[in-house]
């Protein structure tokens, strides 16, 4: 009963996306697809309406790898809010993703 209203309240309050996330992948690999699916699920669950995801495929734009110091793929970079945070892996460990992105989990 308490879950949806809280969620609704959070969804309504901010005018724009609070979280700007950038996911670096290398081509359409199984790991990339898993990571993207995991990310979308986690964001929808915990950051609904407050996030924006940008996907960068390094095989298409390799020059972008140096900018965010990308070494491992997939890497998820939290550009906003500052400070910048970086997590690596296919995001299958949700708890770690939440810790890494510093997100207060929404208790469902």
């Amino acid at each position: 009963m308490t879950g949806p209203p809280a969620s609704a309240a959070r969804r309504d309050s901010p005018p724009g996306p609070e979280f700007e996330l950038r996911l670096y992948v290398a081509g359409q690999t199984a790991k990339s697809l898993t990571a993207l699916a995991n990310l979308q699920r986690i964001c929808e669950t915990h950051l609904a309406g407050q996030y924006r995801i940008q996907i960068i495929d390094l095989t298409q734009t390799p020059q972008l790898a140096a900018g965010d110091q990308i070494l491992a793929v997939p890497t998820l970079v939290r550009r906003l809010p500052t400070p910048i945070k970086k997590i690596i892996g296919d995001l299958s460990n949700e708890a770690r993703v939440l810790v890494g992105l510093d997100i207060q989990p929404v208790i469902v």
Partner: protein, 574 residues
Amino acid sequence: MTKICADRPPSLAKAPTGIAGLDEITGGGLPAGRPTLVSGGAGCGKTMLAVEFLVRGATQFGEPGVFMMFEENAADLTANVRSLGFDLEALVAQKQIVLDYVHIDRSEIEETGDYDLEGLFIRLGHAIDSIGAKRVVLDTLEALFAGLPNHAVLRAELRRLFRWLKDRGMTAVITGERGDGNAITRHGLEEYVADCVIVLDHRIDEQITTRRLRVVKYRGTAHGMNEYPFLIGSHGFSVLPITSLLLDHPVSVQRVPTGIARLDEMLGGKGVYRGSSVLVSGSPGTGKSSIAAKIVETTCRNGERALFFAYEESAAQIVRNMRSIGIDLEPWIDNGLLEIHASRPTLQGLEQHLVMIHDLVRAFRPTVVVVDPISNLTMAYDDSEVKPTLMRLVDFLKKQQITAVFTSLTSGGDTDSGLDDSQLGVSSLMDTWLLLQNIEFTGERNRTIFVRKSRGMPHSNQVREFLLSDAGIDLVDVYLGDQRVLTGSARVAQEAHERVAAALRAQDHQSKLRQLASRRTAIEAQIAALQAEAETEAEEVHLVIAQETLQQKTTQQNTDAMVRQRNGAAGRAR
């Protein structure tokens, strides 16, 4: 049978490093298109070697390169290598080199699942493609072990990385931190890089650091197995092979006069060969430096350049002291034909000295090099190190056709056994060996010189006395007689003694001759008197004879007259 080497199939392709000495040891460079591991402790010069490999590849061999660094950033690296004369900024601007700083901070990285290092591959691939690189440096990959918690993934990825580099035909240098004990690298990188492993080391021995390099492994090629000293000088990295393995330097028949006429006379009348090495050894104060200075002065007088490395005296002191024996070096310093480099042997390691000599010789291009004295280097270093160092120096100078003069202090006093143990075992490297000795006799010490050996020319076997005066250096014959050799005032006294004796003898002869002459005169006078007497006597005898004859005649006539008279009277009587 010995021609087998010539028919041998071409060996492994090599990518020359351009680093002085390293290409000699490795027989041409690092394995082309393969990774090479360079390992060493902190401050060993791994990064310097890697940078020089790239810079020389880009500037000398037309092979652009990518430098991927994990520890220091591009600005720091550029600043650090500028002191070696490498301008990375310019090379980056010319698209000859790409610098990529990979920063990993463990605290920034949270592992959330499965991952790989494709990002690194993409970055590297992108950098390689952007300039058409042929060379890659990864300095140092081991930072990844600190940055990435999952070593299983990392190791798998490293294995893939090396294979990938090989597939792309990159000649790569991978640096790694020296591990504890016998491990070549802390994280065992050597297990991925199987082609060539170079270990750098620096050791402190009696407070002096020496850097050393060793090729631990080089698959598919013969290589120098020894440890080679190297250093990082103002011209970059240089490795000094113990000696050039071949004795193939050019030889000259030209002679270099020593400037001491009698010494040249002892050396076949013309002096030493150009490009030969001359050892001048002797106990303290026998005049080694003076001979060296004289050779230097003569060289400059002939309009050639000379380089003087002094390990005992400062340049000003040498000039002052040599002036006292009539050798003025100052004008030659002023007009740039002579350079004196004075330093303490302990200033730096032996190899640094050697490299300094190399650098200066290359820059100054002298025809004569003096090292005064080589024996001083042994005070600071182990004998076992000095000989190979000198051998390298001798080889280097010979190759350049530079006449080398080494002085050596003999510590063993004047005895013959002492003379031999102090040559650092280098006399066999020398073409000409002048031995200076002090002879103590009748309360004074005198200098003597002799040519102990001189390859390829007739040389005097005589010991000469060696005189230093304000008029210069001169050699005089020693006094040989009475079964001994006399020098100095003993020689002078003996010579005076002989002169007096000779003068006395001459006087004696003359007086004898005079006596003889006067006696002859006297005898002749006597003869004349006797003759006169004889003549007088003869005259008297003749006179008497004449008188008696006359008398007899007269008497006969009288008798005859009487007979005639008597006969007349008787006839009348009949």
